[in-house]
Every structure is written in C-alpha cells, then in structure tokens.
C-alpha cells in the first residue's frame, strides 16, 4: 500500500476497489469473454453467455429445474445427512465446514436426487451441487446416488446424472473412496438389467467421481468446453514438468479421444436426452 492510499479514509478506499468490479446483483461478468451481462437475460439463456456461448456453472436445483418437466417431481433420499465419522479436523473442523456449506447453499450436501418426468417419460435425475464443498463425493453423495439408482432399478426407469465436482471428499477419507465402488456397483446392476444410465459431465469433473460414476454411462456426454479428467492440470504439470496442450481435458478433447459419446449444448439438453432415452426404452419418438 502506498503512503497516499494509507492516508485516504478507509471508506473511500473500498469505494475505489469496488468500482473495478461489476456490481453485485443485476449484472454478471462472463468469466470467459469478460462481457458484462444482464442477469435476467443471462438466466433466460440458461446461464449460457449470449456473447461467447460459455456454459456457466449452475446449482443442482436449477439444473434439475431446467431438465425435468414441471409437475410430478419427488425429491429422493432427503433423510441421508452427512456424518463426521473421523472427527476430521485440519485448520477448521469438518463439522464446521459442513455447516458453513449448508448455510451458504441451502443444501445438506453436494447431491440432489429427484424422481420426475422428462417429456412425460419417468426418469430419475441427480445433480451435483458444486458450490457445496466443491461438489465433492462423500457418504451422502454416494448414498443418495445409490438410492436413486436403486429406485431406477426397481421401477426400471432411466437414470440421468449431471456431475460437477472436484472428486472425492478428503475429510471423509476412505469412506469417500468407497463411494466410488458403491456407485459403480449399482450402475453395473442398471447395466445388467438394461435400464439406461446417462452421465452428463458439466464443468468441472475430476478425481474419484470421474473414475467412477461419471464415466460409466451407457452414454457419456458433456456440456461444451467443460473440463474433466482424472488428475487436475496442476498435478500433471508438476509430475511431467511440461506445459499442457491447449484444450487439454476439455469436452472437445474428450470427444476426440473417444471418452464421451457426444457434447450437448445446454439449450438442447432436454431434447437430446429425451430423444436418446425414448429410443433406448423403445418408446415412440418424443
């Protein structure tokens, strides 16, 4: 801080700082093209930047709201709540981290599961809440996913998952690792029964979630330009000591390498998934 800034009253200082940002509320800056966007217009555009088509992150409930038909929705596994089995403590207690995340997101944990309809077809849909602890998968995420999948199994209705996550949740240590095995096992049962499971990766999907439920779909898809991979770019750069190629781990890269079936624009999400599911379940065209 320069001597000049020091003698300016603090109120004025903060004014100066704030002016460099976009005011909260009505306007939002696109993180990709920096365009300043009018929020209501952005929302009408499904939080996709009208200027550069960047798909911004959206919450789990917004996601399911956009995806499912309006009526006949039922939230699943709401009784599953986080447990701090290890009494994990670092600079903060995990318990406190959980309650902070719960307050800021209004969610109990990082996955919302619902049974509903897509263009009249019954579906089970789950979505990750990235704002909750980086969408990390611990017991609740794994358990809610598994219960939703079991319902899909029992009623033989398709399951759709929208992932957005940094991976497994460190604070639940090996319990979170085992959720990878849990979710993969139940998906395998869907597969054996011939009940469709479609996985859509949205920015970002890494670690334990990418190495389990996110890449086990009958159909794996991603939103445009989403980042997804096993190891984060920093880890890879540190390991191999070289810069990563442009577009590495983006949806387009995944498509090119054969990891995903298709890229789906957010505005086409309902239509595309409905079309696919109708065919997989041998229904008439929707």
């Amino acid at each position: 801080m320069s001597w000049l800034e020091k003698i300016v009253p603090s109120m004025a200082r903060s004014e100066v700082k704030r002016s460099s940002k976009v005011p909260e509320g009505l306007w939002k800056k696109c993180p990709k093209c920096q365009a300043v966007l009018y929020r209501p217009e952005l929302e009408r555009n499904l939080d996709v930047c009208p200027k550069c088509d960047h798909h911004m992150r959206i919450g789990a409930r917004t996601r399911l709201n956009l995806f499912l038909d309006e009526g006949n929705r039922q939230e699943l596994a709401t009784d599953v709540e986080p447990i701090d089995r290890l009494k994990f403590r670092d600079v903060k207690k995990y318990k406190d981290r959980l309650s902070t995340a719960q307050k800021s997101t209004g969610e109990k944990d990082a996955l919302v599961a619902m049974k509903g309809e897509l263009k009249g077809m019954p579906v089970v849909a789950v979505a990750f809440e990235f704002a909750f602890h980086g969408g990390s998968m611990g017991y609740v995420v794994g358990e809610r996913f598994a219960r939703a999948a079991k319902l899909a199994l029992e009623e033989d209705i398709p399951m759709v998952c929208f992932s957005a996550t940094g991976g497994a949740r460190m604070q639940e240590a090996l319990i979170s690792l085992m959720q990878m095995a849990k979710t993969s096992a139940v998906i395998e049962r869907l597969k054996m029964q011939g009940t469709p499971y479609i996985s859509i990766m949205t920015d970002p999907v890494y670690g334990g979630v990418s190495a389990s439920l996110a890449l086990l779909g009958d159909i794996n898809a991603a939103e445009p330009n989403a980042r997804a991979g096993f190891a984060g770019p920093n880890i890879i750069e540190q390991t191999i000591r070289q810069k990563l190629p442009k577009g590495f781990q983006r949806s387009e890269f995944l498509l090119d390498k054969g990891a995903i079936d298709l890229i789906i624009h957010r505005r086409d999400m309902r239509d595309t998934i409905a079309r696919l599911l109708a065919k997989l379940t041998r229904r008439e065209a929707v």
């Binding site: 089995r85 403590r89 090996l174 690792l177 085992m178 095995a181 849990k182 998906i187 096993f230």
Partner: protein, 316 residues
C-alpha cells in the same frame, strides 16, 4: 544416519551398529563378549517393540514406503508355485506397473494381479514407480474376466502411489479404466481377495481393490489422497503431511474400525522388510484360509454379500 532405518528408528540403528562393532571385535580376539551382544540384542528388540507399539499414522506411512519393503514380485516368488506371467491389455500395450498371471496357491490355480513399484533405479523406471496407466488396469480387467471364465479365484496385491497422472494416461482414459474395474469387480463371478501390502493410494489402488475380503498388512496404508496431497490442499504445504495422515486415519486400525478393512495381517517386528520370508509365510497362511472359506460359499450368495457390503460403505 543409517539409511537402512527410518528417521524414527535411528535409536535402533545405533544399537544395531554397536552390536555389529562388537561382533567384529569378538572375532578378532579372545574376549568373551557373547553375553554383551545378547544383552544388546535384547535391548534392541525391546526398543523396537516399544517404538513400534506406538507408531503415529505418519510413521506407518513411512514404513509402508520403506525402500526395502517387499513388493508384489517378492511375494509372488514366495507365495505361489507354477507362476506364469501374462502380459498386455490387447488394445494398446503392456503396463509394467501391474503384474498379472496364473499361479498355484497350495496347488490350487489362482489369478494373481498386483501393483509393482520396482526396486533398483532402472527397475523403478521400468515399473513407472508403481503408477499404472490405463492399459495396466485394462490388463487387470482382462485377466479378471479370464479368471471368471475358468473359475479361478482372484488375488490382488495393492501397492501404488496412485494411477499415473500424465498426458498419455488422460488421453487413453485413465478414469474410465478405473471406473470399469470397479463395476466389473463388483459382479465378477469368482471370489476376490484384495490385500494392501504397502501403499494403497486412492483410485489407483481401489481399481484392483473391490472384492469379498479386504486385508491390510499391519504397517500398510490406504488413503483417498496421499497425506502430502491432502496437506498441500488444506495447509498449502507438504510439511503438514503428518497432520494430514493423522486426520485421514490411513492405518488398518482406523479402517478396521470403520468397517472397511476386514483383517489386519500382523507383520514381523520392525516391519515386513525385516523378515520377508516370515511375512510371506503369514500372508500365505491367511490367504489360503480365506480362500477356503470363500470357495465353500455358493457364488450367488457370495455376490449378494459383496454387493450388500459395497452398498453399506459409510452407513451409520
């Protein structure tokens, strides 16, 4: 500092050094020092016992990563007969970080799959330090499916710092290769016994770790992220790795309490590397007895139990 011993073992190293010196002196002249040596030996054993009775989580991590710790190839030599190694994933290549093959355990044919870190510098490079690429996991899957066809039980030995985080690994779908193994192992129609022999790091370990029985050697570790990685994310420094290890509960003691690990197989005093033959003997005895028990169970009930167990992970 004696490099054969870990930092917290240095008092033991000093005693052992003294014993060695005395032995040299003893062979040089007539002084009767046998008694003295015996006393020191006893002291050294007591000291080792007391140090090993209260290892911290971080110290266990160090024992699990000890440069002399027995690896998969050491156990294969001692546990089995009629070993035939099988190579390749049939799509891309052969990954040397994962060894697979058919052998006999007490004359019964079994499929063996294990991660191998490599001992000498050249060997470590050849084995990619035990960090498998997608073709490693796909080789493992191919062999497991073969085991299912021929009704061979599968024994896996887990010892990896993690799946390889590299460009080629990502390009060939490391995530998918791990995920597929988890899915297939959950329903493979043959008994699967998994044993963590050293370092079980994250998805790269779990990818050969789903089965009917999960063992850990006493001083092996199993974690969702390495203590260094965890420390780096939370404290922004690897210096806090000991705290991270403690917080995550990376030892078999904690993991047995959580119901994730079924059995801890005791190691010789001072760790498996102090007496590899004894360790292998103990491991062999446990695997044989577990295999007998699992082979007696009808396969459908075994699979149902495996599935229910997977579903129960983390339940209060």
């Amino acid at each position: 500092m004696n490099l054969n011993y870990l930092e917290f073992e240095q008092p033991i190293a000093e005693l052992e050094g003294k014993i060695e010196e005395l032995q040299l002196v003893g062979s040089d002249n007539d002084l009767n020092i046998t008694e003295e040596i015996a006393k020191l030996r006893e002291k050294s054993t007591k000291l080792t016992e007391s140090i090993y009775a209260q290892l911290t989580a971080w110290q266990v991590v160090q024992v699990a990563r000890h440069p002399h710790r027995p690896y998969t190839s050491d156990y294969i030599k001692r546990l089995f007969t009629d070993w035939d190694e099988l190579h390749g994933d049939r799509h891309f290549g052969d990954d040397h970080a994962i060894i697979g093959g058919i052998a006999r355990l007490d004359d019964k044919p079994v499929m063996v799959i294990g991660e191998e870190k490599g001992r000498s510098v050249n060997d470590k490079v050849y084995r990619n330090f035990g960090m498998p690429r997608p073709e490693g996991y796909r080789k493992a899957m191919r062999l497991m499916e073969m085991a299912e066809r021929f009704k061979l039980p599968v024994l896996t030995l887990i010892d990896t710092p993690g799946a390889y985080p590299g460009i080629d690994s990502e390009e060939r779908g490391i995530s998918e290769s791990i995920a597929q193994n988890l899915a297939v192992m959950s329903r493979l129609r043959t008994p699967i016994i998994c044993t963590v022999i050293g370092e079980g790091s994250s998805g790269g370990a779990l990818a050969i770790g789903v089965g009917d029985q999960l063992n850990m050697l006493q001083y092996s570790t199993y974690f969702v992220i390495s203590p260094e990685g965890c420390a780096n994310i939370i404290w922004k420094t690897v210096a806090k790795a000991p705290q991270a290890a403690e917080a995550m509960g990376v030892t078999s003691t904690v993991l047995e309490e959580l119901g994730i690990v079924d059995e801890t197989i005791p190691e010789p005093l001072g760790g498996a590397h102090r007496d590899i033959d004894a360790m292998a003997g103990k491991l062999k005895e446990r695997l044989s007895s577990q295999l007998d028990r699992l082979s007696d169970e009808p396969i459908d009930s075994l699979l149902e139990r495996r599935y229910e167990r997977l579903m129960s992970y983390g339940n209060p």
